[in-house]
């Protein structure tokens, strides 16, 4: 039993390597921050494209839906490996794009960011869509009948109402994203899981991995509680019924 604690909860070991693992964990937070901004934006664009009405926008809707379906279905690990394994060989692209070293970050960072953005853009788009569709159709019809164009109706009537439904599921996605930042370790980017495995290989001790787990729990648990509260509040709104203000 003491062997169990030594293998996983060697606090001396955790103390020795605390800053090393923390520094690496900051890389996970960095990946998360960069991708969150990109994916939330990209997802919004996708969601709006998906909504464009009318026959002439059919190809746009079709492509958008195809994109979302594909990137929700493919495991992120595969996307990361395809990007890092394939892009460098595409000779027709300039080297700065094929092997990016932008802003001092090495190429595996950017391959990871690209892969996560492509996938989480798709998931975010679905969350936005759910939000938009939660708004009763009658709102859009009423807005159109008042003479607003599709764009104006979206901007002034539908989206403001959708906004209350979106945060809870979106926060869930962001929590997933933070955890999935660890996947970039497979292409040798020095984030917390890679560093912990290094330490494991050197010392045959898994405590660094547990320490990494602690860091994630520390950040994510409060966020998960916020999600729970938001969901409870939304449930309350739906069951009690609420009067929605249309500005």
């Amino acid at each position: 039993m003491s062997e169990f604690f030594h293998q996983y909860f060697d606090f001396n070991y955790m103390g020795e390597h605390f800053w090393e693992v923390l520094e690496a964990f900051l890389q996970n937070l960095l990946i998360f921050a960069v991708v969150a901004v990109l994916a939330l934006t990209w997802g919004l664009i996708l969601a709006l494209l998906r909504q464009l009405p009318g026959k002439k926008f059919l190809p746009v809707r079709f492509l958008t839906i195809a994109y979302i379906d594909i990137f929700r279905a493919i495991p992120i690990l595969i996307v990361i490996l395809l990007i890092s394994g394939g892009i460098p060989f595409l000779e027709f692209l300039p080297k700065e794009i094929r092997i990016p070293h932008w802003l001092g970050k090495p190429d595996p960072f950017w391959y990871g960011v690209a892969a996560l953005m492509l996938v989480y853009g798709a998931f975010s788009a679905e969350v936005y869509r759910a939000g938009i569709e939660a708004v009763p159709r009658g709102q859009m019809e009423a807005a159109r009948s008042l003479g607003m164009s599709h764009g104006q109706a979206m901007r002034h009537v539908v989206v403001p109402q959708a906004i209350s439904v979106i945060p809870a599921p979106m926060l869930n996605e962001m929590i997933s994203l933070l955890k999935d930042s660890t996947l970039v370790s497979v292409i040798a980017f020095a984030e917390s899981v890679l560093i912990s495995r290094e330490l494991l290989a050197q010392s045959f001790n898994s405590s660094a991995l547990i320490l990494t787990g602690f860091f994630f729990i520390l950040i994510i648990l409060p966020l998960a509680r916020v999600v729970d509260k938001l969901i409870a509040r939304n449930q309350g709104k739906i069951t009690r019924g609420s009067h929605i203000e249309v500005a």
């Binding site: 890092s84 595996p108 497979v186 495995r197 494991l200 290989a201 045959f204």
Partner: protein, 275 residues
């Protein structure tokens, strides 16, 4: 009506997935194994861990593993009457795993080092090795020193990684979980060199192409077969088997098959005391 149909559809799809999954499990074993040679004898199979692939030492698909280490272990197994059963395992945990008894022995182009000896015991050396700096064909890099400040790939947990850390403080060292991944990164151009065992580098030059060895770094490394500390009986058996394989010419045959060279004479007299 609709909800029962939906539930039925969900149930059927889950059932389909479950049956596909169990069908997948049924045919193959949990641990990928390779039966030993026919002359395995009456003894129990010897479970052996190895990080596959690492050509030319170990490569191939489960059930059809091949390579210098694989054949050597099978030859030793024949001598001691225990056919080896190989388990693919990740290199960075391989010493811990054998120390904890996950398998009985390790043969994985593993260099005998003091740190590793804190967890395992090694047999007499069975291969003399060194490191090599692998670069893309036509690269301007000709030596280890020229790698200062450049991006270098290594495999996690290897002596190549240690060498890189010691000599190249100013470079970015990227540790990959598998040796071949590091070589792929070199070919893709995301790293400028790979520091890896010389025979593996040579194999990459011949088999995968587009790369060349810039410099060999003579680190005088010796590969050994690892067992858990204290397993003196097993270790003695393995050493005896190795000795017999040296003496009757089997080692020379296997060596020439995989390296197209005669084995160096030093290996036959190299010995190692378990600490």
């Amino acid at each position: 009506m609709r909800s029962t149909r939906l539930t039925a559809l969900l149930a059927v799809s889950l059932l389909a997935i479950a049956s596909l999954a169990t069908a997948g499990c049924g045919s193959s074993d949990d641990d990928t194994t390779s039966g030993g040679s026919e002359g395995g004898g009456g003894g129990e199979p010897l479970t052996v861990g190895s990080d596959i692939p690492y050509p030319p030492f170990e490569q191939g698909k489960p059930g059809e593993y091949t390579g210098f280490d694989i054949e050597l272990m099978e030859a030793i197994g024949e001598k001691i009457g225990r056919a080896p059963e190989f388990q693919d395992t990740s290199f960075e945990t391989i010493f811990r795993d054998v120390a904890q008894g996950k398998f009985e022995a390790v043969i994985s182009a593993a260099t005998i080092t003091e740190e590793r000896e804190e967890a395992v015991d090694f047999s007499n050396p069975y291969y003399l090795s060194e490191q090599a700096v692998l670069v893309k064909e036509g690269s301007a890099i000709k030596s280890l020193e020229e790698l200062d400040g450049k991006t270098v790939a290594v495999q996690q947990g290897t002596t190549g990684q240690e060498l890189a850390k010691e000599e190249l403080g100013g470079s970015e060292i990227r540790p990959f979980p598998e040796g071949p991944d590091a070589v792929n990164a070199l070919k893709a151009g995301t790293v400028e060199a790979v520091i890896i065992d010389a025979p593996v580098a040579q194999n990459a030059v011949e088999k995968s192409g587009g790369v060349e060895i810039a410099e060999k770094v003579p680190t005088e490394e010796e590969y050994g077969i690892a067992v858990a500390q204290g397993e003196t009986e097993l270790l003695d058996e393995i050493n005896k088997g190795l000795e017999e394989v040296f003496d009757d010419g089997t080692y020379k045959k296997i060596y020439e098959k995989w390296f197209k060279l005669e084995p160096p004479q030093e290996i036959f007299s190299a010995s190692h005391e378990a600490e």
